[in-house]
């Protein structure tokens, strides 16, 4: 069995059943394109195959990402703040709810609901933050007033 076939077989086994056929076919095409490109730029066929496989990453890692969270915009109060293109998740931020503005969210196109200076409450504050410091929450910029309260500097409504 070639290295490519072994890779595809491992991938097939690791994938949820309903994704197998299409994803294996797709990665098969990727391998062919990658090997062709590497060969064209001077690698010998074995090296080309190795490089292409290496850059794809472990098959289990690809398979594990199927059936994971979707690109759909999250809904709900807390989720609205964690929306914003995964930015919030990237910064490992914390959940916030507004005290008087339950519609506070993080979309960028809507009108602001909370004027600068409005109080919102943070469920937990990352250890690095102290009173008076500024925390970034998704696209919501808030100023930490004490351990749990923050002052919103820039808050947008959920559409």
């Amino acid at each position: 069995m070639s290295a490519s076939e072994a890779y595809l077989e491992e991938l097939r086994r690791a994938l949820p059943r309903r994704h197998r056929r299409r994803v294996v076919a797709e990665i098969r095409g990727h391998l062919a394109d990658g090997i062709a490109a590497e060969t064209a730029s001077g690698a010998d066929p074995e090296e080309a195959e190795r490089l292409t496989i290496e850059r794809l990453g472990p098959p289990e890692r690809i398979a594990a990402q199927f059936g994971e969270g979707s690109a759909r915009r999250p809904t709900g109060k807390a989720a609205a703040l964690v929306a914003a293109g995964g930015v919030a998740a990237l910064l490992s931020v914390f959940a916030v709810t507004a005290s008087r503005h339950p519609t506070v969210g993080a979309t960028t196109t809507a009108r602001p609901v909370a004027a600068p200076g409005t109080m919102v409450y943070v469920h937990s504050v990352p250890s690095g933050y102290r009173a008076g410091q500024v925390a970034i929450l998704g696209r919501v910029l808030v100023r930490v007033v004490n351990g749990t309260a923050v002052r919103a500097v820039y808050v947008h409504a959920k559409r």
């Binding site: 994803v23 076919a25 095409g29 979707s70 995964g86 990237l90 979309t107 960028t108 500024v134 696209r139």
Partner: protein, 106 residues
């Protein structure tokens, strides 16, 4: 820049990569590599699950295409995907402005 730092943004980058026309996965990865001047070192395999997530969310469409004896899944932006890209671009710009303000102030 490694894959972890990128993870939250891969979907946005893919929408941007599809803005100029339909592409298959391998070509998208090439495009990202060239556009980022080689700075985007992502596990290339992550692009496929991300494309599937985008498709499930209705932001991209896909179809098999046969070219030169090779079968490839080709992706394109849907109308919704194009709208989302516009929103996300604005959102990104506003995030960058905000972070810059804070970084500049400290």
């Amino acid at each position: 820049m490694n894959g972890d730092a990128l993870r939250g943004h891969l979907e946005l980058l893919l929408l941007a990569a599809l803005a100029s026309g339909e592409q298959h996965g391998y070509a998208l990865i090439e495009w990202l590599r060239v556009q980022s001047e080689g700075a985007l070192e992502l596990g290339e395999g992550s692009v496929y699950p991300a494309l599937h997530r985008l498709e499930k969310a209705g932001l991209v469409g896909s179809a098999w295409q046969q070219t030169g004896g090779r079968r490839r899944r080709v992706y394109c932006l849907t109308k919704l995907g194009r709208e989302r890209l516009g929103e996300e671009r604005q959102g990104w710009a506003s995030l960058v402005r905000t972070v810059d303000l804070v970084l500049g102030a400290s």
